[in-house]
Protein backbone atom coordinates (compact mmCIF):
# COMPACT_ATOMS: atom_id res chain seq x y z
CA UNK A 1 0.00 0.00 0.00
CA UNK A 2 1.10 3.55 -0.71
CA UNK A 3 2.93 5.02 2.29
CA UNK A 4 1.04 8.33 2.05
CA UNK A 5 -2.18 6.36 2.48
CA UNK A 6 -0.68 4.43 5.43
CA UNK A 7 0.23 7.69 7.18
CA UNK A 8 -3.32 8.98 6.71
CA UNK A 9 -4.63 5.67 8.09
CA UNK A 10 -2.44 6.23 11.18
CA UNK A 11 -4.02 9.63 11.77
CA UNK A 12 -7.47 8.14 11.21
CA UNK A 13 -6.77 5.36 13.72
CA UNK A 14 -5.58 7.90 16.28
CA UNK A 15 -8.75 9.97 15.79
CA UNK A 16 -10.93 6.85 16.07
CA UNK A 17 -9.20 5.84 19.33
CA UNK A 18 -9.63 9.31 20.83
CA UNK A 19 -13.25 9.76 19.73
CA UNK A 20 -14.17 6.12 20.47
CA UNK A 21 -12.74 6.22 24.00
CA UNK A 22 -14.43 9.58 24.67
CA UNK A 23 -17.80 8.24 23.44
CA UNK A 24 -17.57 5.12 25.62
CA UNK A 25 -16.70 7.29 28.66
CA UNK A 26 -19.65 9.56 27.86
CA UNK A 27 -22.24 6.85 27.37
CA UNK A 28 -21.11 3.82 29.41
CA UNK A 29 -22.29 3.56 33.01
CA UNK A 30 -19.67 5.26 35.15
CA UNK A 31 -18.78 3.72 38.55
CA UNK A 32 -19.78 7.05 40.12
CA UNK A 33 -23.36 6.66 38.85
CA UNK A 34 -23.46 2.91 39.44
CA UNK A 35 -22.51 3.15 43.10
CA UNK A 36 -25.29 5.58 44.07
CA UNK A 37 -28.01 3.88 46.13
CA UNK A 38 -28.35 1.39 48.95
CA UNK A 39 -26.03 -1.62 49.27
CA UNK A 40 -26.33 -4.45 51.79
CA UNK A 41 -23.21 -6.11 53.19
CA UNK A 42 -23.42 -9.82 52.43
CA UNK A 43 -19.91 -10.96 53.23
CA UNK A 44 -16.64 -9.89 54.86
CA UNK A 45 -13.74 -12.20 53.99
CA UNK A 46 -10.14 -12.06 55.16
CA UNK A 47 -7.50 -13.13 52.68
CA UNK A 48 -3.95 -13.30 54.00
CA UNK A 49 -0.97 -13.36 51.60
CA UNK A 50 0.53 -16.85 51.11
CA UNK A 51 -1.46 -18.37 53.93
CA UNK A 52 -1.72 -22.13 54.43
CA UNK A 53 -5.19 -23.54 55.29
CA UNK A 54 -4.23 -23.83 58.99
CA UNK A 55 -2.85 -20.30 59.06
CA UNK A 56 -5.94 -19.16 57.22
CA UNK A 57 -8.13 -20.47 60.03
CA UNK A 58 -5.97 -18.75 62.63
CA UNK A 59 -6.20 -15.51 60.67
CA UNK A 60 -9.93 -15.87 60.34
CA UNK A 61 -10.43 -16.36 64.06
CA UNK A 62 -7.63 -14.40 65.73
CA UNK A 63 -7.12 -11.43 63.51
CA UNK A 64 -10.69 -10.95 62.46
CA UNK A 65 -11.55 -9.38 65.78
CA UNK A 66 -8.57 -7.04 65.70
CA UNK A 67 -9.07 -6.09 62.06
CA UNK A 68 -12.76 -5.51 62.49
CA UNK A 69 -12.03 -3.34 65.51
CA UNK A 70 -9.79 -1.19 63.30
CA UNK A 71 -12.44 -0.82 60.63
CA UNK A 72 -15.41 -0.87 62.96
CA UNK A 73 -16.64 2.46 61.63
CA UNK A 74 -16.89 0.95 58.18
CA UNK A 75 -18.87 -2.10 59.25
CA UNK A 76 -22.05 -0.34 58.28
CA UNK A 77 -24.46 -3.14 57.42
CA UNK A 78 -26.22 -1.03 54.83
CA UNK A 79 -24.15 1.42 52.83
CA UNK A 80 -26.20 4.29 51.41
CA UNK A 81 -24.18 6.18 48.78
CA UNK A 82 -26.03 9.48 48.36
CA UNK A 83 -25.71 11.38 45.07
CA UNK A 84 -24.45 14.44 46.97
CA UNK A 85 -21.31 12.47 47.92
CA UNK A 86 -22.22 11.49 51.47
CA UNK A 87 -22.21 7.94 52.80
CA UNK A 88 -24.89 7.08 55.30
CA UNK A 89 -26.10 3.98 57.02
CA UNK A 90 -29.50 3.51 58.62
CA UNK A 91 -27.85 1.07 61.08
CA UNK A 92 -24.95 3.28 62.17
CA UNK A 93 -25.01 6.68 63.85
CA UNK A 94 -21.30 7.39 63.22
CA UNK A 95 -21.48 7.41 59.44
CA UNK A 96 -23.33 10.71 59.08
CA UNK A 97 -20.22 12.75 58.24
CA UNK A 98 -18.52 10.29 55.87
CA UNK A 99 -17.99 11.46 52.28
CA UNK A 100 -17.26 9.13 49.36
CA UNK A 101 -15.20 9.76 46.25
CA UNK A 102 -14.34 7.58 43.26
CA UNK A 103 -10.77 8.08 42.08
CA UNK A 104 -8.27 6.78 39.51
CA UNK A 105 -9.94 5.21 36.48
CA UNK A 106 -12.94 4.45 38.65
CA UNK A 107 -11.15 1.68 40.57
CA UNK A 108 -10.67 3.37 43.95
CA UNK A 109 -13.33 4.26 46.51
CA UNK A 110 -12.07 6.82 48.99
CA UNK A 111 -13.91 7.56 52.23
CA UNK A 112 -13.26 10.79 54.12
CA UNK A 113 -14.40 12.20 57.41
CA UNK A 114 -13.97 15.95 58.01
CA UNK A 115 -11.82 16.19 54.88
CA UNK A 116 -9.39 13.48 56.07
CA UNK A 117 -9.11 10.13 54.33
CA UNK A 118 -10.25 7.34 56.61
CA UNK A 119 -9.97 4.49 54.10
CA UNK A 120 -9.35 3.71 50.41
CA UNK A 121 -10.82 0.58 48.85
CA UNK A 122 -9.98 -1.06 45.54
CA UNK A 123 -13.22 -1.54 43.60
CA UNK A 124 -12.79 -5.12 42.45
CA UNK A 125 -16.21 -5.45 40.84
CA UNK A 126 -19.09 -3.09 40.32
CA UNK A 127 -22.31 -3.61 38.41
CA UNK A 128 -26.06 -3.14 38.88
CA UNK A 129 -26.28 -5.93 41.45
CA UNK A 130 -22.94 -6.42 43.11
CA UNK A 131 -20.13 -4.34 44.58
CA UNK A 132 -16.91 -6.02 45.72
CA UNK A 133 -14.39 -3.91 47.64
CA UNK A 134 -10.88 -4.84 48.65
CA UNK A 135 -9.19 -3.24 51.62
CA UNK A 136 -5.48 -3.82 52.19
CA UNK A 137 -4.58 -4.36 55.83
CA UNK A 138 -1.16 -4.54 57.39
CA UNK A 139 -1.56 -5.39 61.08
CA UNK A 140 0.19 -8.52 62.34
CA UNK A 141 0.19 -9.87 58.77
CA UNK A 142 -0.47 -8.42 55.32
CA UNK A 143 -3.62 -9.29 53.51
CA UNK A 144 -6.91 -8.18 52.06
CA UNK A 145 -10.39 -7.78 53.46
CA UNK A 146 -12.97 -8.49 50.79
CA UNK A 147 -16.31 -6.80 51.38
CA UNK A 148 -19.16 -8.04 49.24
CA UNK A 149 -22.23 -5.82 48.92
CA UNK A 150 -25.46 -6.37 47.04
CA UNK A 151 -27.85 -3.71 45.85
CA UNK A 152 -30.69 -3.50 48.36
CA UNK A 153 -33.48 -4.15 45.85
CA UNK A 154 -31.84 -7.37 44.64
CA UNK A 155 -31.00 -8.42 48.18
CA UNK A 156 -34.66 -7.93 49.23
CA UNK A 157 -35.91 -9.89 46.24
CA UNK A 158 -33.60 -12.73 47.19
CA UNK A 159 -34.78 -12.65 50.82
CA UNK A 160 -38.42 -12.68 49.75
CA UNK A 161 -37.76 -15.67 47.49
CA UNK A 162 -36.26 -17.60 50.40
Amino acid sequence: MNRDVLVKLNYLLLAILLIGASLVIRHAESPERLIAGDWVETDWRLEKDNASPVEELQVQSGLKKEILRNVEDLHLGIWRFEKDGSLKSPSSAKSDSIEWFIKGRGHVLELRRDGRTIESFQIQQINDRKLVLHLNFDLQVKGIIEIVLERKEYSNQYAEKI
Binding site: G20, A21, I25, S30, K103, S120
Partner: protein
Protein backbone atom coordinates in the same frame (compact mmCIF):
# COMPACT_ATOMS: atom_id res chain seq x y z
CA UNK B 1 20.54 21.88 27.31
CA UNK B 2 17.84 22.32 24.64
CA UNK B 3 19.39 24.10 21.70
CA UNK B 4 21.64 21.27 20.49
CA UNK B 5 20.37 18.29 18.54
CA UNK B 6 21.30 14.61 18.24
CA UNK B 7 25.05 13.91 18.01
CA UNK B 8 25.95 17.57 18.58
CA UNK B 9 24.83 17.22 22.18
CA UNK B 10 27.51 16.82 24.86
CA UNK B 11 27.39 14.46 27.81
CA UNK B 12 26.81 17.45 30.07
CA UNK B 13 23.81 18.60 27.95
CA UNK B 14 22.23 15.14 28.24
CA UNK B 15 22.89 14.76 31.97
CA UNK B 16 21.41 18.20 32.75
CA UNK B 17 18.34 17.61 30.55
CA UNK B 18 17.87 14.01 31.73
CA UNK B 19 18.26 14.77 35.44
CA UNK B 20 15.97 17.82 35.48
CA UNK B 21 13.21 16.29 33.35
CA UNK B 22 13.36 12.99 35.28
CA UNK B 23 13.12 14.91 38.56
CA UNK B 24 10.00 16.72 37.35
CA UNK B 25 8.50 13.47 35.99
CA UNK B 26 9.07 11.76 39.35
CA UNK B 27 7.39 14.66 41.16
CA UNK B 28 4.38 14.65 38.85
CA UNK B 29 4.00 10.87 39.02
CA UNK B 30 4.04 10.58 42.81
CA UNK B 31 1.82 13.64 43.32
CA UNK B 32 -0.68 12.25 40.80
CA UNK B 33 -0.81 8.92 42.64
CA UNK B 34 -1.36 10.78 45.91
CA UNK B 35 -4.10 13.06 44.58
CA UNK B 36 -5.76 10.96 41.86
CA UNK B 37 -4.70 7.34 42.61
CA UNK B 38 -3.37 7.14 39.04
CA UNK B 39 0.17 6.98 37.64
CA UNK B 40 1.17 9.41 34.92
CA UNK B 41 4.23 7.78 33.42
CA UNK B 42 3.39 4.12 33.67
CA UNK B 43 2.40 3.37 30.10
CA UNK B 44 3.59 -0.26 30.15
CA UNK B 45 1.39 -0.84 33.18
CA UNK B 46 -1.56 0.89 31.50
CA UNK B 47 -1.38 -1.46 28.50
CA UNK B 48 -1.69 -4.37 30.93
CA UNK B 49 -4.50 -2.61 32.83
CA UNK B 50 -6.33 -1.93 29.54
CA UNK B 51 -6.23 -5.63 28.63
CA UNK B 52 -7.31 -6.57 32.18
CA UNK B 53 -10.27 -4.15 32.26
CA UNK B 54 -11.48 -5.20 28.80
CA UNK B 55 -11.19 -8.88 29.70
CA UNK B 56 -13.28 -8.24 32.84
CA UNK B 57 -15.89 -6.44 30.74
CA UNK B 58 -15.24 -3.08 32.45
CA UNK B 59 -15.70 -1.01 29.30
CA UNK B 60 -15.82 2.32 31.07
CA UNK B 61 -12.51 1.82 32.93
CA UNK B 62 -10.96 0.32 29.76
CA UNK B 63 -11.99 3.39 27.74
CA UNK B 64 -10.49 5.72 30.37
CA UNK B 65 -7.15 3.89 30.20
CA UNK B 66 -7.25 3.87 26.38
CA UNK B 67 -7.87 7.63 26.40
CA UNK B 68 -4.90 8.17 28.74
CA UNK B 69 -2.57 6.06 26.56
CA UNK B 70 -3.76 7.94 23.46
CA UNK B 71 -3.12 11.29 25.17
CA UNK B 72 0.44 10.22 26.05
CA UNK B 73 0.87 9.20 22.40
CA UNK B 74 -0.53 12.54 21.26
CA UNK B 75 1.91 14.39 23.53
CA UNK B 76 4.93 12.57 22.11
CA UNK B 77 3.56 13.00 18.58
CA UNK B 78 3.05 16.74 19.02
CA UNK B 79 6.48 17.16 20.59
CA UNK B 80 8.34 15.62 17.67
CA UNK B 81 6.02 17.32 15.15
CA UNK B 82 6.96 20.75 16.53
CA UNK B 83 10.67 19.84 16.43
CA UNK B 84 10.75 18.57 12.83
CA UNK B 85 8.27 21.09 11.41
CA UNK B 86 10.01 23.96 13.21
CA UNK B 87 13.29 23.23 11.45
CA UNK B 88 14.03 26.19 9.15
CA UNK B 89 10.95 28.12 10.30
CA UNK B 90 12.33 29.30 13.60
CA UNK B 91 15.48 28.64 15.66
CA UNK B 92 16.29 25.14 16.89
CA UNK B 93 16.20 26.38 20.48
CA UNK B 94 12.63 27.69 20.07
CA UNK B 95 11.32 24.50 18.49
CA UNK B 96 12.88 22.50 21.34
CA UNK B 97 11.53 24.88 23.99
CA UNK B 98 7.91 24.85 22.69
CA UNK B 99 7.17 21.27 23.97
CA UNK B 100 8.57 22.22 27.40
CA UNK B 101 6.34 25.31 27.47
CA UNK B 102 3.31 23.20 26.44
CA UNK B 103 4.17 20.71 29.19
CA UNK B 104 4.48 23.54 31.69
CA UNK B 105 1.06 24.89 30.66
CA UNK B 106 -0.57 21.45 31.02
CA UNK B 107 0.86 20.99 34.54
CA UNK B 108 0.01 24.58 35.48
CA UNK B 109 -3.57 23.97 34.31
CA UNK B 110 -3.78 20.92 36.61
CA UNK B 111 -2.34 22.90 39.56
CA UNK B 112 -4.71 25.85 39.09
CA UNK B 113 -7.74 23.62 38.51
CA UNK B 114 -6.99 21.61 41.66
CA UNK B 115 -6.55 24.80 43.66
CA UNK B 116 -9.71 26.63 42.61
CA UNK B 117 -12.23 24.38 40.85
CA UNK B 118 -11.74 20.70 41.79
CA UNK B 119 -14.90 19.02 43.14
CA UNK B 120 -13.36 15.55 43.49
CA UNK B 121 -15.55 14.08 40.74
CA UNK B 122 -14.41 11.12 38.67
CA UNK B 123 -14.81 13.03 35.39
CA UNK B 124 -12.47 15.79 36.60
CA UNK B 125 -9.96 13.20 37.83
CA UNK B 126 -9.93 11.51 34.42
CA UNK B 127 -9.40 14.79 32.56
CA UNK B 128 -6.66 16.03 34.92
CA UNK B 129 -4.78 12.70 34.80
CA UNK B 130 -5.17 12.85 31.00
CA UNK B 131 -3.59 16.34 31.00
CA UNK B 132 -0.64 15.04 33.07
CA UNK B 133 -0.16 12.04 30.77
CA UNK B 134 -0.23 14.41 27.78
CA UNK B 135 2.46 16.50 29.54
CA UNK B 136 4.60 13.42 30.21
CA UNK B 137 4.19 12.38 26.56
CA UNK B 138 5.39 15.83 25.47
CA UNK B 139 8.41 15.54 27.76
CA UNK B 140 9.39 12.01 26.79
CA UNK B 141 8.90 12.82 23.11
CA UNK B 142 11.13 15.90 23.39
CA UNK B 143 13.99 14.31 25.34
CA UNK B 144 14.04 11.15 23.20
CA UNK B 145 13.80 13.12 19.96
CA UNK B 146 16.54 15.70 20.55
CA UNK B 147 18.97 13.27 22.17
CA UNK B 148 18.65 10.56 19.52
CA UNK B 149 16.77 8.35 22.01
CA UNK B 150 19.64 8.50 24.53
CA UNK B 151 17.56 10.37 27.13
CA UNK B 152 14.16 8.93 28.05
CA UNK B 153 12.96 10.27 31.33
CA UNK B 154 9.68 8.51 32.00
CA UNK B 155 10.63 5.14 30.60
CA UNK B 156 12.30 3.46 33.55
CA UNK B 157 11.69 -0.11 32.39
CA UNK B 158 14.02 0.45 29.42
CA UNK B 159 16.41 2.47 31.56
CA UNK B 160 16.70 -0.26 34.20
CA UNK B 161 17.32 -2.82 31.44
CA UNK B 162 20.04 -0.62 29.89
CA UNK B 163 21.64 -0.05 33.30
CA UNK B 164 21.67 -3.78 34.00
CA UNK B 165 23.25 -4.46 30.59
CA UNK B 166 25.93 -1.81 31.25
CA UNK B 167 26.72 -3.16 34.71
CA UNK B 168 27.17 -6.63 33.25
CA UNK B 169 29.36 -5.19 30.47
CA UNK B 170 31.61 -3.63 33.10
CA UNK B 171 32.50 -7.13 34.22
CA UNK B 172 35.02 -6.97 31.32
CA UNK B 173 38.07 -4.80 31.99
CA UNK B 174 38.17 -3.19 28.49
CA UNK B 175 34.57 -2.01 28.87
CA UNK B 176 35.37 -0.33 32.19
CA UNK B 177 37.83 1.90 30.30
CA UNK B 178 35.43 2.61 27.43
CA UNK B 179 34.53 6.29 27.97
CA UNK B 180 31.35 6.00 25.87
CA UNK B 181 29.97 3.22 28.06
CA UNK B 182 31.01 4.99 31.26
CA UNK B 183 29.28 8.20 30.09
CA UNK B 184 26.13 6.27 29.28
CA UNK B 185 26.21 4.65 32.71
CA UNK B 186 26.55 8.06 34.41
CA UNK B 187 23.67 9.45 32.34
CA UNK B 188 21.31 6.55 33.08
CA UNK B 189 22.24 6.54 36.75
CA UNK B 190 21.63 10.28 37.06
CA UNK B 191 18.21 9.91 35.36
CA UNK B 192 17.22 7.04 37.65
CA UNK B 193 18.37 8.81 40.81
CA UNK B 194 16.72 12.08 39.78
CA UNK B 195 13.44 10.29 39.10
CA UNK B 196 13.49 8.69 42.56
CA UNK B 197 14.57 11.99 44.17
CA UNK B 198 11.76 13.79 42.32
CA UNK B 199 9.29 11.17 43.55
CA UNK B 200 10.47 11.59 47.13
CA UNK B 201 10.35 15.36 46.84
CA UNK B 202 6.85 15.16 45.32
CA UNK B 203 5.61 12.82 48.06
CA UNK B 204 7.08 14.79 50.95
CA UNK B 205 6.41 18.14 49.26
CA UNK B 206 2.72 17.29 48.96
CA UNK B 207 2.46 17.07 52.75
CA UNK B 208 3.67 20.68 53.05
CA UNK B 209 2.61 22.41 49.81
CA UNK B 210 -0.34 20.26 48.65
CA UNK B 211 -1.20 21.31 45.09
CA UNK B 212 1.72 23.76 45.15
CA UNK B 213 3.91 20.79 44.13
CA UNK B 214 2.59 21.26 40.60
CA UNK B 215 3.76 24.90 40.65
CA UNK B 216 7.21 23.74 41.82
CA UNK B 217 7.33 21.36 38.85
CA UNK B 218 6.52 24.33 36.60
CA UNK B 219 9.50 26.22 38.10
CA UNK B 220 11.82 23.31 37.18
CA UNK B 221 10.38 23.26 33.66
CA UNK B 222 10.96 27.02 33.39
CA UNK B 223 14.62 26.45 34.31
CA UNK B 224 14.86 23.84 31.53
CA UNK B 225 13.13 26.09 28.99
CA UNK B 226 15.03 29.30 29.76
CA UNK B 227 18.48 27.98 30.74
CA UNK B 228 19.72 28.14 27.14
CA UNK B 229 18.07 31.54 26.67
CA UNK B 230 20.22 32.81 29.54
CA UNK B 231 23.31 31.03 28.17
CA UNK B 232 22.83 32.39 24.64
CA UNK B 233 22.46 35.90 26.11
CA UNK B 234 25.66 35.48 28.14
CA UNK B 235 27.64 34.22 25.13
CA UNK B 236 26.30 37.15 23.06
CA UNK B 237 27.38 39.67 25.73
CA UNK B 238 30.85 38.07 25.97
CA UNK B 239 31.20 38.11 22.18
CA UNK B 240 30.29 41.81 21.99
CA UNK B 241 32.71 42.70 24.81
CA UNK B 242 35.56 40.86 23.05
CA UNK B 243 34.65 42.62 19.79
CA UNK B 244 34.78 46.00 21.51
CA UNK B 245 38.14 45.12 23.13
CA UNK B 246 39.60 44.11 19.74
CA UNK B 247 38.33 47.38 18.19
CA UNK B 248 39.92 49.41 21.03
CA UNK B 249 43.25 47.55 20.61
CA UNK B 250 43.19 48.11 16.81
CA UNK B 251 42.54 51.83 17.16
Amino acid sequence: MLRKYSNHRTQSDNVKLGALTAFSAGMVNVTSVTVFFAFTSNITGYYAVLAQEVSKGNWYQGAVVLLWITLFFLGSFLSNLVIIQGKGRWSQYISHAIPVILELLSILFVGIYLEFFYQNSLKETEILVGALLFAMGLQNGLTASISNSVVKTTHLTGLTTDLAILVSMFSKRENRHNQGLVNKFHLLLSIMMSYVAGGLFGGIGYLYFQNGVFYLTCVILMVIAFYDFYKIGRVKRLFERRKREVLVQDS
